[in-house]
């Protein structure tokens, strides 16, 4: 099994694992973490495809690899924005629930849903 | 000469790997955090040093070899800092001796 196929299959499993974590974990920070796992799985899949395009003296097709560098940086910025929204929600309401119901021990009604 | 250098590489890297293994065994088997920290920092610094020493004859230029040594020194610095900090936090939180 070539490295490209092996890591492509590994990436498919990573995307599945991350997707499961994204749906099942109720805490938003764990959802962001699972989303990052999905993202890195997608990048790995793309990278395995780039490795298959090795030729002309290079170890991998440079065009997908350049797009991957862009993707990793943009994924970090998306994560940073998501975490900033989460922290602001925490500062405002004291909890990070995404549901619309008022919290069970609602002491204040500032911010809220 | 090449055979001797290759032999040195193999012996040094295997010894370094043994130290990494010993450090991991210490991490899993030692009773509390301070002893585990001791096992990790000693074994990993020595293990990495041996691996670097073993790889030095395989480098094709002096500058590449110097970069390897720099990497080892930086890992020593970060390992020492982290160990100090973890140990200090453990002592303040009361689980140290």
């Amino acid at each position: 099994m070539t490295a490209g196929t092996l890591f492509g299959l590994c990436a498919a499993v990573l995307i599945g694992v991350g997707l499961y974590g994204l749906i099942v974990n109720p805490h938003p920070l764990r959802k962001i973490l699972a989303f990052n796992v999905v993202g890195s799985g997608v990048f790995l899949l793309f990278g395995a495809i780039a490795h298959r395009g090795a030729g002309a003296g290079m170890g991998g097709d440079p065009v997908p690899q350049a797009l991957l560098i862009t993707g990793i940086v943009v994924a970090f910025s998306a994560t940073a924005l998501a975490v900033a929204v989460l922290l602001r929600l925490f500062d405002e309401t004291g909890s990070v629930t995404l549901s619309s119901d008022p919290p069970a021990n609602a002491g204040n009604d500032s911010g809220g849903n | 000469m090449n055979l001797l250098l290759d032999l040195w590489t193999v012996v040094a890297v295997i010894t370094g790997a043994f130290f990494f293994f010993a450090g991991t065994v210490g991490l899993l088997r030692f009773p509390d955090s301070l002893t585990r920290l001791h096992a990790l920092s000693k074994a990993d610094n020595l293990g990495l040093g041996l691996v670097v020493l073993g790889l030095l004859p395989q480098m094709d230029s002096v500058s590449a070899g110097l970069k390897l040594v720099c990497i080892w020194l930086l890992v020593l610095l970060s390992g020492a800092t982290a160990s100090q900090w973890i140990a200090r936090t453990l002592r303040h939180s009361g689980s140290g001796p």
Binding site: V17, F43, G53, G55, G57, P62, V63, Q65 | -
Partner: protein, 313 residues
């Protein structure tokens, strides 16, 4: 022998990904994710993507890990409320079925990829001589797909503006991050004095060498941002207020220079971001020099988050 290494790496990263999903405590899960990112760097080396390996180690493992672990520590008190909210078994079964279906579909696609693999490597090699850079990835990023890099820089600045807009009214335009008081004899102050000179040299080296060898401005800017963050975290310098004019000018300087060069190309070489003959290398250098401070500031400030303190020193 390499097969064994590849199988071992694949098994380790799968195990760590599962750990990151199912661990009980968020900090433990994030630590697992950081190790996962570092092992992924080794996988990239096996896939011969050295520039991507550098980026993954710096941004995927390093910056994302710091971001998530600081958030996990701040949100520690909210975790217990969520532990009781685990979804019902039926939801978990459906999620598992969905995840398995997605994995299966992707696995079938991977196994059905065309042989021989289509590749753009020969064309990149054939056209690279004009750009006078030897690293094909830098040539792709700054010459063949320069539009992607320009839009990426603009997206980063937009994301930073989005993060800044989350400041509460009292801290609008103020300093991000908590106030750190330096302990002059502490470990962190010591490291923050010893490491940044080495880190700055390493960052600038990786940026400069990216023209001909693996490296480049994203990786170099991440190292510089990390050194800046270390100095701020040790309390040796304070985060600048985000309303400072020099900060905002440096942030937009990168994309502005890039757009200006693009317009110059539209006028002289008949296409936006085309480089006139013989001027490719100097223009590429100009773009990279302008983007370095932008990227360093953006990456550092995005990690610090929204402003939480007022402007006063």
């Amino acid at each position: 022998m390499i097969e064994v290494l590849n199988f071992g790496l694949a098994a380790l990263i799968l195990g760590l990904a599962v750990w990151a999903i199912v661990a009980r405590e968020a900090p433990a899960a994030v630590v697992g994710f950081i190790v996962y990112g570092l092992l992924l760097t080794l996988v990239w080396l096996q896939l011969r993507g050295i520039d991507v390996a550098l980026t993954e180690a710096a941004i995927g493992g390093g910056l994302t890990g710091v971001l998530l672990i600081s958030a996990a520590v701040r949100l520690r008190s909210t975790e217990s409320a969520f532990r009781a909210q685990r979804p019902a078994a039926s939801t978990r079964w459906l999620a598992a079925v969905l995840a398995a279906a997605v994995t299966g579909a992707l696995a079938i696609c991977v196994l059905a990829l065309p042989e021989p693999a289509p590749t753009l490597a020969p064309e990149v090699l054939a056209n690279m001589a004009v750009t006078e850079v030897e690293n094909p990835i830098t040539a792709v990023l700054l010459a063949f797909r320069a539009m992607d890099t320009l839009l990426e820089a603009i997206v980063l600045v937009f994301a930073l503006i989005g993060v800044w807009s989350l400041a509460p009214d009292l801290a609008w335009g103020g300093r991000p991050g908590p106030l750190q008081v330096a302990d002059p004899n502490g470990m962190l102050a010591y490291v923050a004095r010893v490491l940044p000179p080495i880190g700055i040299v390493a960052g600038i080296y990786i940026f400069w060498i990216g023209a001909d060898h693996p490296g480049g401005k994203f990786q170099g800017a991440t190292i510089l941002a990390a050194m800046w963050l270390l100095v701020m975290m040790a309390g040796l310098a304070d985060a600048p207020p985000v309303s400072r004019r020099w900060l905002r000018w440096l942030l937009v300087a990168g994309p502005l220079v890039f757009i200006a060069i693009g317009v110059v190309g539209a006028v002289t070489a008949n296409a936006f971001l085309a480089y006139p003959q013989g001027f490719a290398k100097p223009l590429i250098l100009a773009i990279e020099f302008a983007l370095m401070p932008t990227l360093t500031l953006v990456l550092g400030l995005m990690l610090l988050g929204a402003p939480r303190r007022g402007k006063s020193p």
